[in-house]
């Protein structure tokens, strides 16, 4: 047993971190929120070049996967940098296309997804598809059919302004088969990773702020109430992390309890990221409540990811399912 990222995996996350730090990701997020998808698409292409979108696609379809551990590590970084776009949805579509009976659509879409040439999204368990207005293809699932939508309804904004939601409309079935549960699991898994990254970013930024912000003549990080709130935030996140990688290992092994492990990780990462957001907001005070301060990019996302692809209640039920 070696329950740690190996050197190569660690280097992969560092590469992503460097790329996303250098790329001024917050500016791309703000453009995306305003409906300007250009900088976000450019970012996706650079991410695709590192292989991020190939991790859930098998070699048969020009991917590298499935590599759930690497996927988790990568999506943590995507969350840490608040990367916009239909990230978990891309994973879900990739899994669906590979598992459904029909190889035609898989050959058509998967190589393009893996290489970043196509951005896709879907609606599966809920009514909305994320970022349908930015995607090259919008799918929805009707019973066991994967339907390529021919359009979408009006775009609604989320408490995370970078999430833009719309209902897919119409279209025709492109594939058929009972892979919905598996795709939803992978999307929940990717969302858990992203949420963990969001929570980590919130905690890191708040720790840094608490060191430099002074009130009453002292750095606020010297106040015990501040220390304890941050300690609790970090405890939550650091015990979410092993659940995430435990789920990755279960997925990689095709373990029968992978779905339950994913649900556990989703609860823990989603709830701890949300708790970190509440703490970040409270300790930043008014500035954290401000849209123009970058912290807001993560606060809204923590709120949305807590329920996306499986509410805490649904996930807890799954944890105890037989």
């Amino acid at each position: 047993m070696r329950f740690l990222l190996d050197a190569e995996q660690t280097e992969f996350t560092r590469t992503l971190d460097r790329l996303l730090t250098a790329a001024d990701t917050p500016a791309a997020v703000r453009a995306w929120s305003a409906g300007d998808h250009g900088p976000g698409r450019a970012l996706w292409e650079r991410l695709a070049a590192t292989g991020v979108f190939a991790l859930a696609v098998s070699e048969e379809y020009e991917g590298l996967g499935p590599l759930p551990v690497e996927l988790a590590a990568a999506f943590v970084e995507l969350g840490r940098h608040a990367v916009p776009g239909p990230l978990a949805e891309t994973v879900a579509v990739s899994v669906l296309l590979q598992r459904l009976g029909d190889r035609g659509p898989a050959k058509e879409w998967l190589p393009r997804i893996a290489s970043g040439r196509a951005m896709v999204t879907l609606a599966l368990s809920g009514p909305y598809a994320l970022d349908a207005d930015a995607a090259d293809a919008v799918f929805h699932v009707v019973d066991d059919d994967l339907v390529l939508a021919d359009g979408h309804g009006p775009v609604r904004t989320s408490l995370d302004p970078a999430r833009r939601l719309a209902r897919p409309t119409g279209g025709e079935s492109v594939a058929h088969g009972p892979a919905v549960r598996e795709a939803a699991d992978w999307a929940a898994f990717a969302t858990a990773a992203q949420a963990l990254g969001v929570g980590l970013a919130l905690a890191e930024r708040t720790v840094a702020y608490a060191k430099q912000r002074t009130q009453f003549g002292t750095a606020i990080g010297a106040f015990q109430a501040v220390k304890h709130q941050l300690a609790d935030a970090v405890i939550g996140l650091e015990f979410g992390r092993p659940l995430l990688y435990g789920a990755a290992v279960a997925l990689a092994a095709g373990a029968p309890d992978a779905s339950r492990n994913i649900a556990a990780a989703k609860v823990a990462c989603g709830e701890s990221a949300y708790a970190a957001a509440r703490t970040a907001l409270q300790l930043h005070g008014a500035i954290g409540y401000t849209a123009e301060y970058d912290l807001s990019l993560w606060i809204g996302k923590a709120t949305a990811l807590r329920t996306a692809w499986g509410t805490p209640s649904e996930c807890r039920a799954r944890v105890l399912s037989a």
């Binding site: 809920g126 609604r156 904004t157 408490l159 009130q215 003549g217 106040f223 409270q282 008014a286 329920t307």
Partner: protein
Amino acid sequence: MDLDFTPGEDAFRAEARGWLAAHVPATPLPSLETAEGFAAHREWERTLSGSRWSVVSWPEEYGGRGASILRWLVFEEEYYAANAPGRVSQNGISLLAPTLFEHGTDGQRARVLPAMASGETIWAQAWSEPEAGSDLASLRSTATRTDGGWLLTGQKTWSSRAAFADRAFGLFRSDPEADRPHRGLTYLMFALNAPGVTVRPIGRLDGKPAFAELFLDGVFVPNEDVIGAPGQGWRVAMSTAGNERGLTLRSPGRFLAAADRLTTLWRERADPSDTALRDRVADAVIGARAYRLFTFGNASRFAEGGDIGAESSLNKVFWSELDIRLHETALDLLGPDGELCDGDGSGDSGWSEGYVFSLAGPIYAGTNEIQRDIIAERLLGLPKGRR
């Protein structure tokens, strides 16, 4: 010990209910954090004041009804139960007016209050500065004496309503040589369109400009717009902070109405056997009821001349945390619609704007950390000092 209303109070409630039923707009006004919504809310203030409902607890000469605190609480219950619009004049009514009643001159009251009551003047608060959030003693913006008045220079921030308001009030450092940092502050009122004022709206989490930065560069304020004595601003500002304000910052009516709406949402949307959600809805109902009764107790004590001091800190922590939990429960009840923003089209639930608003509760008007310190030190007598 009783919870009985007099026939007069019952009649007052009935009158308020009837008037509200006839006048509350059938469709919600646009968000008051937009220019259009602000104007609509100002118009609503005019409608309220036309029937003397905008400031019921004030003396009649300033536009009120001389209502007791209890009647004010009754009015608030009816107001929020009727789903009436948010109060764009809240800053002026709950923060500035009590100070004017206690420390203002007759002239100031006559000049400021009727226009506040009618919505003609909407007030923004200008307390915070970039380096002084909860720590008002470290304010840096200055008021310098000049002929016939003062010149204000510096920067204020998190000035709520300032994006669209007419005037503002705040503390300024008038004596940099004072021996302690919270001395040497002066309480002043100024116009937001005065020469030297630059207003830069700031978007809150959902992007709406709920507050602004104010850049002040030699803004002239006549002596008549100083409240209390120069250099006594801290005392002037604090003297009303813990007393009536502790009762009136957020009335129980808001939370009773919100808990009712939450219960309705739950009955419509939830599986009744989902006890996890049921318990959270019940806790919202219990919390709103507790806050109402707690307030009646305080109002009774207040009516007998009792003091509501550090108890307003109990209040603040309680309602601000109740408000967040209540709105979190609502978003969870809404399922996939829970993350949708209000105000971008049809199907607004009203809950997400309320949720974003609730998140500010534990931060503003003295963070909940400071309130807990106050409870521990002033109410429980624990030693001050190390934090």
